[in-house]
Symmetry: C2
Subunit: 431 residues, 2 copies
C-alpha cells in the first residue's frame, strides 16, 4: 500500500487522495435508458425477456409465493437460522427507537404547529442476487420498512439459474412477513417498480444497492419520475484511524473485509504510528493470500493507501475531508475524538468493534452513503421510510395575533391574494 506523510501533502494532494469517481458509469446511460423505456412500454413481457437474456433463465411467472418461499427456506441450517434471528432482533431493537412522535408547539397564543409521521405507502426493495446474495441487505431494508408501517413492500431480486431465489433470501422474506418476491434483477427491476407492470406494483420509493446498471437506473428514475430513491451509491469503502494502541492484525482484517467487496472498493489507513502502519501492511500481506476472494481483495488493496499523521486530530481532519462510508477508530482513546467526526456514514469505536459487526448484526444499518456523499446524506433508517407532515391549527385568538404579520409580509412580496386569505378571516364571516 502506498504510504503518504500527511505533513508533506499539499491541499491539492489531499484533494486528489479523497476524490472518488462519482459517475464512472455515465457511458452506460443509454443502455439503461433503453431498458427503462422497454419496461415502461412492454411491462411483464420485457421482464420475461430480460430474465432470459441477463439471468439465463426462462421464467413461467415473475414471482415466488409464500408456499414456494417456505419450501426454498427449508435448506437453511439451525445455526444459520439462529444467526439471522439474532441479527433481526438487534437491527429491530435499534431501529425501533427511531420512530418518534413529536410534541405540539404553540408558536404564539392560538397558533399551534406540529409534525406527524406517516409511512411511505409503497416501497420497493432491490435485493441483489446472482453471484453476491445479500440476505443482510434484505434485513437492513425490510426491518425499517416494517417498523415504519409501509403498507406495501415490493421486493425484487434476480432469479438464479433454477428460476428461484436463494434459501437465505426466502427465509428473510418469511421473517419479515413478506409473502412474495419478484424474480427481477438489474435496471429492469428498478424500472418495473418505478412505472409498475401487470405483475409488479408501482412504488413511491426504491431502496437498495446494486451494480452500476441498478445504480444508474435509480439515478435516472429519481430525476425523471416522482419515485424517490434511498440515496446515490458507489463502491464500498472504509477508513481506519489507528494509533499506537491499535492491533495490526485487527486493522489488516478490517481493511481486507472492505477490500473483498470489489476491485473498486477502497480501504484507507490513517495512522499516527508509522510502526503500527508498517505492521498492519505486513499483516495485510499475510492474511490476504488465504482469502477465497484474494484476487479481488488484492486489486482493491492496490487501489488503497496509508496516510501517516502526527496526531489523532490530524487523522480526523483528513477523515472528515474523505467523508468515509465506514470509519473505524482503532484507538483506546476514541471517546475523546468522536465529537470531532463531522462526515461519516457509520462509525466503529475501539479495537473490538469491527465493521463487519455493523454489516450484519450490531443493530445499525449497513446501507450507507459512499463516495463522500456522507457530507450531506445519512444512512438508511426508519426516517427513510416515513414522511413528516406538518400540521397547524389557528384559533380566533391566533388569527387575530398572527393576521397583521401575514398581511404585511404578503403585501411586501406583492402577493395580494395571500394577504386577502387572512383579511377575510379577520372580518366577520359572510357565509
Amino acid at each position: 500500500m502506498k504510504t503518504y506523510n500527511y505533513s508533506e501533502l499539499s491541499s491539492a494532494d489531499i484533494q486528489k487522495l479523497v476524490q472518488r469517481n462519482v459517475d464512472p458509469a455515465n457511458e452506460i446511460r443509454t443502455i439503461v435508458e433503453d431498458v427503462i423505456t422497454n419496461v415502461q412500454q412492454h411491462g411483464d413481457s420485457a421482464l420475461f425477456d430480460y430474465a432470459l437474456k441477463f439471468d439465463k433463465v426462462e421464467l413461467s411467472k415473475l414471482y415466488l409465493e409464500k408456499a414456494e418461499l417456505e419450501e426454498i427456506a427449508k435448506a437453511i441450517s439451525a445455526d444459520q437460522k439462529a444467526a439471522l434471528e439474532t441479527a433481526y432482533s438487534n437491527i429491530y431493537k435499534f431501529h425501533q427507537t427511531q420512530l418518534k412522535t413529536e410534541d405540539k408547539v404553540e408558536t404564539m397564543p392560538g397558533v399551534t404547529c406540529w409534525r406527524e409521521l406517516r409511512p411511505i405507502e409503497k416501497v420497493g426493495l432491490y435485493i441483489p442476487g446472482g453471484s453476491a446474495v445479500l440476505p443482510s441487505t434484505f434485513l437492513m431494508l425490510g426491518i425499517p420498512a416494517r417498523i415504519a408501517g409501509c403498507h406495501e413492500i415490493v421486493v425484487c431480486s434476480p432469479p438464479q439459474k433454477n428460476g428461484k431465489v436463494n434459501a437465505f433470501i426466502a427465509y428473510v422474506a418469511l421473517m419479515l412477513g413478506i409473502d412474495k418476491i419478484y424474480l427481477v434483477g438489474g435496471s429492469q427491476a428498478v424500472a418495473a417498480m418505478a412505472y409498475g407492470t401487470a405483475s409488479i406494483p408501482k412504488v413511491d420509493k426504491i431502496f437498495g444497492p446494486g451494480n452500476q446498471f441498478v445504480t444508474k437506473a435509480k439515478t435516472i428514475i429519481q430525476s425523471t419520475t416522482t419515485t424517490a430513491i434511498d440515496m446515490p451509491a458507489g463502491p464500498s469503502e472504509v477508513l481506519v484511524i489507528a494509533d499506537e494502541t491499535a492491533i495490526p492484525s485487527y486493522i489488516a482484517a478490517d481493511l481486507l473485509a472492505q477490500a473483498e467487496h470489489g476491485i473498486d472498493s477502497q480501504a484507507v489507513l490513517v495512522c499516527t504510528s508509522a510502526d503500527i502502519a508498517q505492521k498492519a501492511i505486513a499483516e495485510v500481506e499475510k492474511q490476504l493470500p488465504v482469502l477465497p476472494r484474494a484476487e479481488i481483495a488484492k486489486l482493491a488493496i492496490d487501489n488503497s493507501y496509508v496516510v501517516i499523521t502526527s496526531s489523532l486530530s490530524e487523522a480526523i481532519t483528513f477523515s472528515n475531508q474523505y467523508a468515509p462510508e465506514h470509519l473505524i477508530l482503532a484507538t483506546g482513546s476514541w471517546e475523546q475524538i468522536t465529537g470531532s467526526i463531522i462526515n461519516a456514514g457509520s462509525v466503529f469505536l475501539g479495537n473490538l468493534t469491527p465493521e463487519s459487526a455493523g454489516d450484519y448484526a450490531s443493530g445499525t444499518n449497513h446501507t450507507l452513503p459512499t463516495s463522500s456523499y456522507a457530507r450531506a446524506y445519512s444512512g438508511v433508517s426508519v426516517d427513510s421510510f416515513v414522511k413528516k407532515i406538518t400540521f397547524q391549527h389557528i384559533t380566533r385568538e391566533g388569527i387575530n395575533n398572527i393576521g397583521h404579520t401575514v398581511e404585511v409580509l404578503a403585501e411586501l412580496e406583492g402577493l395580494h391574494a395571500h394577504r386577502n386569505a387572512v383579511s377575510v378571516r379577520l372580518s366577520p364571516p359572510t357565509p
Copy 2:
C-alpha cells in the same frame, strides 16, 4: 371551474385528475447543461457574463458585504421589520424543537448503538429575486440552517437592475447573521454552488425554489455530482377539503392565494356539499377581478377543478391520491380526519387556518414537496440540514456475544474476510 362528481369518476379518471406533469422542462436540459459546463470551466467570469446577459446588469463584483446590506436594509419600515421579526420568532420556535439528541441502545449485552446529529458543513441557499422577491423563503431556509449549526451558509440571489438585492432580502440576511450575498441567479447560481468558483464556495447541499432553469440545474447537479439538493420542485398547489361547515369566501380566498403564484399553479376544491362548492366558485369569480395578479390567477383557476364527494372520508381518499403540497381542511370536524391523511406536505386545520399563515409566519416550513412528491418526500426542516451518523461500540463481552452470529452470516454470504475481522478479535490479540 370544472366540477366532477366523485361517484362518477372511474379510477382512470381519478388517475388523470391527480396527474401532474413532472418534467415539463426536459427540453431546456441542453441549455442548462451548457450553463453548468460554462460555469464549471470559466467560474466567476461566466457569472459576470450571465449577469449581463440574463439580469441586464454589469457587476463590478459578485457579492454584497455586510455594510452594503445594512445600507440597503434601511429602506424597510418599522411595521415590515416587526412582521419579519414575528415570522422569524415563530419559525425559529417551531424548528428549534426538531433538533433532538437520541438515546443509546444496548442491542445485546456489550453492543451499544446510537445516532448523533452533525450539521451539513456547507449549504447553499438559492433565494429567487427579480420579479418575485421572496424574503420569506430566505427565512424558511436560513433559520433551520442556523439551528442545525451549518458552518457555512452560502446565499445566491439574482441582482436587480441596480446591481443590488432588494431591501427585504438584505434585512433577512442581517437577521440571520449572514454577512454576504452572492449576486448570482438562475441555473448559473446552482452550478456555482455545486462546483465552486474563485468567489463562491462549493457547497455540500443546495436548497431553494426557482424557475424551471433553477429546478433543472438542481436535478442535473444531484445526479452528476456529490452535491445534494433539498428536493425536486414543481408548480405550487393547494387542495381544499370542505364540508357544509366551510365558509365559501374563505375557500375562494385560499384557492386564489394559490392561483396567483403562477399560471401553472393548481387549486383543487374537494367538497362534500354541492351548495358550498357553488358558492365558493361564485366567490372566486367575485374576488378574482380585483387582484393585482388577476391575469395569472385566472389562468391558474382555469387549470383547476372541483370534485364533489359524498363524505369527508371520500374526500381524504381523493386527497391522498393527489398528495397535495398544501392541504386545507375547511371543516369543523378536522380532528376526526387528520389521522387518515397519508400524503401531504403541510396541512391547515379548520376554517381559521389559511395556507398563507403557513407560507409566512405560523412557524412551519413553506418549502414543501409539490407534484405528488409528498408521497415520498417531507418538507424542509432542520432534518434537511443535518446528517445522522450511526456509532457503535462493542466490549469484550459484546464481541463474545455477537461474534458467532457475524461469522455465520459472513460465511453464508461468502465474505470470508468479513468473517475473519471478527475471528481475529475472538482469539487473543497478536500485536
